[in-house]
């Protein structure tokens, strides 16, 4: 896949940038979807764009720890103010969309983003 950046998906995911715009040029190297943060910590890979319906502030710490490209909060879930504050601080793009998580993942996949086949 050619080098794609987080900002390349803003239109297709119909999302708003809640915080962390400084990271919009992060390269997206793959994708991960999960709502269990312990699972994301264990399995997401460096450069993944992460799709979740969790909006708690811990998602930003997890994204930072795992070196993720961006977090997409799906399903119209409201982001907590503390989550946005931390995303801004860490420069992790925090994207929010009304699309359901399934649809977000489908559109990312259609655009060439792949997950790990090993789980």
């Amino acid at each position: 896949m050619r080098c794609v950046k987080v900002r390349d998906f803003l239109d297709s995911l119909d999302c708003t940038v809640e915080a962390g715009a400084a990271g919009l040029d992060n390269e997206v190297r793959g994708g991960y979807a999960s709502d269990l943060l312990s699972d994301v910590m264990a399995h997401a890979r460096d450069g993944d764009i992460w799709v979740t319906v969790q909006a708690h502030q811990n998602i930003i710490a997890v994204a930072t720890l795992a070196g993720l490209a961006a977090v997409v909060v799906a399903g119209g879930v409201e982001c907590e103010p503390e989550t946005a504050r931390r995303a801004e601080e860490e420069g992790i793009p925090l994207l929010r969309t009304r699309l359901a998580a399934f649809e977000v993942v489908g559109r990312l996949h259609a655009a060439g983003v792949r997950g790990s086949a090993r789980g």
Partner: protein, 250 residues
């Protein structure tokens, strides 16, 4: 100071997943028979039976700590305890206002029975208690504090509805009064497996849904058996102490 054996996470027949045998007098009797002198009543998202168990416990010399097991929007179960019945009921009001309004299907999930101190059924809830509230864990922590309660993330070692599983680690600023660990894992193994809970007091409790699960899994050294003394013990203040009893309990 005296040692008091405790089991601080017990469901009543109000929780649909609990057996109908979990009535106030039966819970108290089971506690007495196992040497448990302090019980915590924590039904899912409701405290409708807690005061009835407290009443039933008084005659038998069993101290009842009234609480609720709240499910946050992140699917984390949190034990919340209160000394003051007014605060408990105020908190219940907030939880009810935030609880998804799904009708309980008794056939599928079980009955939600409201009981008097003698164990007689005085009502049943229409709304399903096995659901998430719209409150995040940080808000739950903040509100319970403001109402004078204790905040204890439940069974942090479990694969579901656990703080560690759902949120990865203890959020900064939550400052729980303790964390609860299941007897299956025990405090020692939990400390090894979850370095993030280092420095936090651990209680082990049964999460009993049936009478024969009630057991003394935690020992407190207290001046007297009361809510405030437990608060002091969780801070190891003035000679009070909390000791999780690993393995099978007593």
């Amino acid at each position: 100071m005296q040692v008091y054996l405790a089991d601080l996470h017990i469901h009543t027949a109000l929780s649909p997943c609990a057996e109908a045998e979990m009535t106030p007098p039966a819970i108290v009797e089971a506690a007495v028979s196992r040497g448990v002198r302090m019980v915590g009543i924590c039904d899912h998202n409701s405290a409708e039976n807690a005061l009835s168990v407290a009443e039933a416990g008084r005659a038998a010399g069993v101290t009842v700590i009234c609480g609720m097991e709240v499910q946050t929007c992140e699917d984390v179960h949190v034990l919340t305890f209160f000394e003051n019945p007014g605060a408990l009921l105020a908190w219940q009001g907030e939880v009810y206002a935030a609880l998804s309004d799904i009708e309980n299907d008794e056939e599928r999930f079980g009955e939600e029975l409201v009981l008097d101190p003698m164990g007689a059924v005085t009502g049943r809830l229409r709304r399903l208690l096995l659901a998430s509230t719209s409150m995040g864990i940080d808000r739950v922590g903040r509100r319970v504090r403001e109402l004078g309660g204790l905040v204890v993330p439940a069974h942090v070692d479990r694969p579901s509805f656990s703080l560690i599983r759902s949120l990865g680690f203890v959020p900064p600023g939550l400052d729980p009064d303790a964390v609860e660990v299941s007897p299956r894992t025990g405090a020692r193994r939990a400390r090894e497996a979850y370095p993030g809970i280092a420095g936090l007091p651990i209680i082990v409790s049964s999460d009993a849904h049936r009478l024969n699960e009630i057991r003394a899994y935690t020992s407190f050294r207290l001046e007297r058996p009361s809510f405030e003394e437990i608060r002091l013990a969780l801070r190891s203040a003035s000679g009070r102490a909390v000791t999780p009893l690993d393995r099978e309990g007593i």
